[in-house]
Symmetry: C2
Subunit: 69 residues, 2 copies
DNA sequence: ATGTGACTGAGAGTCCGTG
DNA sequence: CCACGGACTCTCAGTCACA
């Protein structure tokens, strides 16, 4: 446990996005975030602000806790 | 509802911190975050990264969802 | 369809203060 | 004890070309 927050977010994001059957490109469009930025996030390579996470959560229809906890 | 994420975090943070009976300064020290930044966060005046929120949650002994949802 | 390095403007986060 | 400001450094947001 205690994986880095960014890795945790990345894993949750990838899991929830693929579970919804959406590509990074399509999802990026819905969340209004650049395609390569989504790629970075899923790899845990970025430390995003809560405003970005808020957009991710809304585009997925989940809570922020679902992405971060 | 639908308040800005930063305002939501600010309200939750202030509520949970005061419920724990701690001053901003003491709490800032425990979370290893500058005291003025805690003040800014509680007023919803900043858009922090998830690493900062993670430290806040740990210092309070709550989940990130408790602070953000 | 996704991963990655590089880039720039904007803003995250720190530290000095004051009322 | 807290709100708020100014000034600073360093990282994030957002984008591109290319693999």
């Amino acid at each position: 446990m205690e994986a880095d927050v960014c890795k945790r977010l990345g894993g949750n994001l990838k899991r929830l996005r693929t579970a919804a059957g959406r590509s990074q490109e399509d999802f990026a469009h819905d969340a209004d975030i650049h395609r390569t930025y989504i790629s970075d996030l899923e790899r845990g390579a970025r430390n995003p602000t809560i405003r970005v996470v808020d957009r991710l959560a809304k585009a997925l229809g989940v809570s922020m806790g679902d992405l971060l906890d």
